[in-house]
């Protein structure tokens, strides 16, 4: 039970973060060669070479194998550019949380078949008047080897649009990040991400039912980071999500503690080092 909640918390939380700057996983900048970074909810990132960065979420790797490779591309009109390819295999995780009793998030009668997703992102970053701006665009594809029941979705903000990709087959994502360094130790990040599952309504098995929805997820976050050193920093902030889900539209301020019916600030700790 605790294990499942940890996995869910982690799976959700990792989408809350994704930061910029030298700790930057979302910008076009490539982490310095042989430098590594990791956070409670952030992926493990490693500078494989001067132009290539590899990342993965190690804590959930064994239940959801995942890896991303970011590669530096040629500069374009003053923008640093990078391409990023991500691979995920969520089947083991989904089958773990498809269970009876407390912690059962998916109907235990619905087994997820083998399925993989591949995401491609084009990332452009530029410094403008002391602000670091990143624009990203990308497309997501999913391949399902078998029959995936349309009821095997998790209808929660942040989660639904990342998993319903496997029902829909493809999706589109884009976003903008703006980061401002306040002083040597503190920096701010504001971002907006937009995820679209363009033909999700066609999943509907029975046309006489109300159309299944879930077209978009608009996600905004605001983060304040304190960088103690090059090797440690603390981040806090919030994430606001406005999304269309199968039952209608919903807005949520995250993280949210259900039992206390209250929002709590994000708390993230990150560590870094250099491989000798």
């Amino acid at each position: 039970m605790k294990f499942i909640f940890c996995i869910l918390l982690f799976s959700t939380a990792k989408t809350l973060f994704s930061m910029n700057a030298s700790w930057n996983s979302n910008s076009a900048e490539i982490i310095t060669e042989k430098r590594w970074e990791i956070g409670l909810f952030q992926p493990f990132r490693y500078g494989y070479s001067e132009k290539t960065e590899i990342s993965a979420h190690p804590l959930i790797f064994f239940v959801m194998p995942n890896v991303s490779v970011k590669k530096q591309e040629k500069r374009f009109r003053g923008f640093n550019c990078a391409s990023k390819i991500s691979f995920r295999y969520p089947t083991p995780l989904l089958n773990i949380i498809s269970k009876k009793g407390i912690g059962g998030v998916i109907d235990p009668n619905l087994e997820s078949p083998p399925m993989v997703s591949l995401s491609y992102s084009w990332i452009m970053s530029k410094s403008l008047n002391g602000f670091d701006m990143t624009i990203k665009n990308g497309i997501d594809f999913a391949l399902v080897l078998g029959s995936l029941d349309n009821r095997a979705t998790i209808d929660l903000p942040l989660v639904y649009h990342r998993l319903a990709l496997y029902n829909n087959g493809w999706g589109y994502h884009n976003g903008i990040d703006i980061q401002k360094r306040i002083n040597k130790s503190f920096s701010l990040l504001v971002d907006m991400d937009f995820l679209i599952l363009p033909e999700i309504a066609k999943m509907q098995s029975d046309p006489s039912f109300k159309s299944l929805r879930g077209l978009y997820s608009l996600e905004h976050k605001f983060l304040l980071s304190w960088e103690k050193s090059k090797n440690f920093r603390v981040t806090t902030g919030y994430k606001l999500v406005r999304a269309e889900l199968p039952f209608g539209e919903q807005t949520r301020l995250l993280p949210y503690l259900p039992l206390f019916e209250s929002w709590v600030p994000i708390i993230e700790l990150q560590w870094a080092g250099v491989k000798k």
């Binding site: 269970k99 029975d206 199968p246 259900p258 019916e261 929002w263």
Partner: protein, 379 residues
């Protein structure tokens, strides 16, 4: 400018903070509905008797082996199955052709039933024009058995306009831990005024209840007490009512132990009524006086099915059997007890009380109808 931004941000934040699980106030407004198309001809009361029906429709799932209320394993129903059952429920309601319908276990936005708004569906597929709804279980996400989002409750449908709908909170169970109770049901009484049926300065009300089924403490007693108080208040204020619902209580004189017929394969009936889950919902003497808990209602008001002549105990008036209760490997137990009732402080047309057992496949409960006779014989 900074203040404006702060106000805007606060507005967004506050609007985004709907509770994850709705905890209702003691008394609150119900949600009002109207049919998409309301023909004038049948929305005006033209006098004569008033037919009333109560029905726990089990969220339109028929005899679906739902894990929560039977020995089944299923959680999320197939949409086509729900659609078929809902159409049959609508057809049955049209056939019964009551003026007022008291429904229990109606889903309006639940993952288990494909997020179909069943109140609106019934309004748009029956002769009914107006409805009100009071949720008894509203949670954004229930992290158990894959239930997910849940919004289910009581509804009243009517051919005539409804006003002053009120959701009256029933006491929560005390035999659950805090975490289970947080995600659990908040049962209620739904009370509404029907102005066009008022007569001689006396307001006319419909009152719908779904009392606890599985509590092993005194919650059921409290629910029936609260129900009696609501009905009594109407009488004290010179009102008339038709009322009913799924009281999850057997009539006086009925058998009280259904464990042997209700138990699942892995359960044993060992007379440990307090701790053995097999007795939840199948045993009707968890506290002193439970077997006769409905006696005061029978003594105070007029029942659709009489208790004095023993009618309530007759098999033709049984309204319920658990959805997976089987006589043998291929035969369902269609019904083996009465849990659903209609009462009024006026009078029912003699012999009009009827249990529609032909509808046994559409729910684990069967509709009960009766014809209310206005004091003047016609309104």
């Amino acid at each position: 400018m900074r203040s404006l931004k702060l106000v805007l941000f606060s507005t967004i934040v506050l609007n985004s903070c709907d509770p994850f699980v709705s905890d209702f106030s003691q008394a609150g407004d119900a949600i009002m509905y109207e049919a998409s198309d309301i023909p004038d001809s049948i929305s005006v009361y033209d006098g004569g008797p008033i037919k009333v029906v109560t029905w726990n429709i089990r969220f339109g799932s028929g005899r679906f082996p739902f894990f929560g209320d039977s020995c089944g394993d299923d959680v999320i129903a197939d949409q086509k199955h729900i659609n078929t059952i809902m159409q049959q429920i609508a057809d049955t309601l049209n056939m019964i052709d009551a003026d007022i319908v008291l429904l229990q276990e109606v889903d309006v936005s639940s993952k288990r039933t494909g997020y179909l708004d069943q109140v609106q569906y019934l309004l748009d597929n029956t002769y009914y024009n107006y409805a009100c709804y009071a949720s008894m279980w509203k949670a954004d996400f229930v992290p158990t058995d894959g239930i997910g989002k849940m919004n289910t409750g009581n509804a009243i449908l009517s051919k005539y306009e409804l006003t002053d709908a009120e959701r009256i909170q029933l006491r929560l169970r005390t035999d659950q831990d805090d975490l289970v109770q947080y995600f659990y049901l908040r049962r209620n009484i739904l009370k509404v005024k029907i102005p066009s049926l008022s007569q001689g300065g006396r307001d006319f009300f419909a009152v719908d209840i779904h009392a606890t089924a599985f509590a092993t403490d005194d919650t059921k007693e409290k629910h029936i007490e609260q129900y009696s108080e609501v009905l009594s208040d109407i009488v004290v204020e010179n009102g008339d009512f038709v009322s009913g619902g799924d009281l999850n209580s057997v009539p006086p004189g009925s058998a009280i132990d259904f464990c042997e017929s209700d138990k699942c394969d892995n359960e044993v009936c060992d007379d440990d009524f307090e701790n053995n889950d097999a007795y939840q919902g199948s045993y009707f003497a968890h506290f002193d006086g439970e077997p006769d808990i409905l006696l005061s209602l029978y003594n105070t008001y007029s029942p659709a099915i009489s208790n004095n002549d023993g009618s309530t105990l007759l098999p033709e008036n049984h309204t319920h059997a658990p959805s997976t209760s089987m006589l043998n490997d291929s035969t369902y137990t269609k019904h083996d007890r009465k849990l659903d009732y209609l009462f009024t402080n006026g009078s029912w047309q003699q012999g009009s009380g009827y249990t529609h057992q032909a509808a046994w496949e559409l729910s684990d409960h069967m509709p009960v109808s009766a014809i209310y006779t206005p004091a003047s014989g016609g309104r």
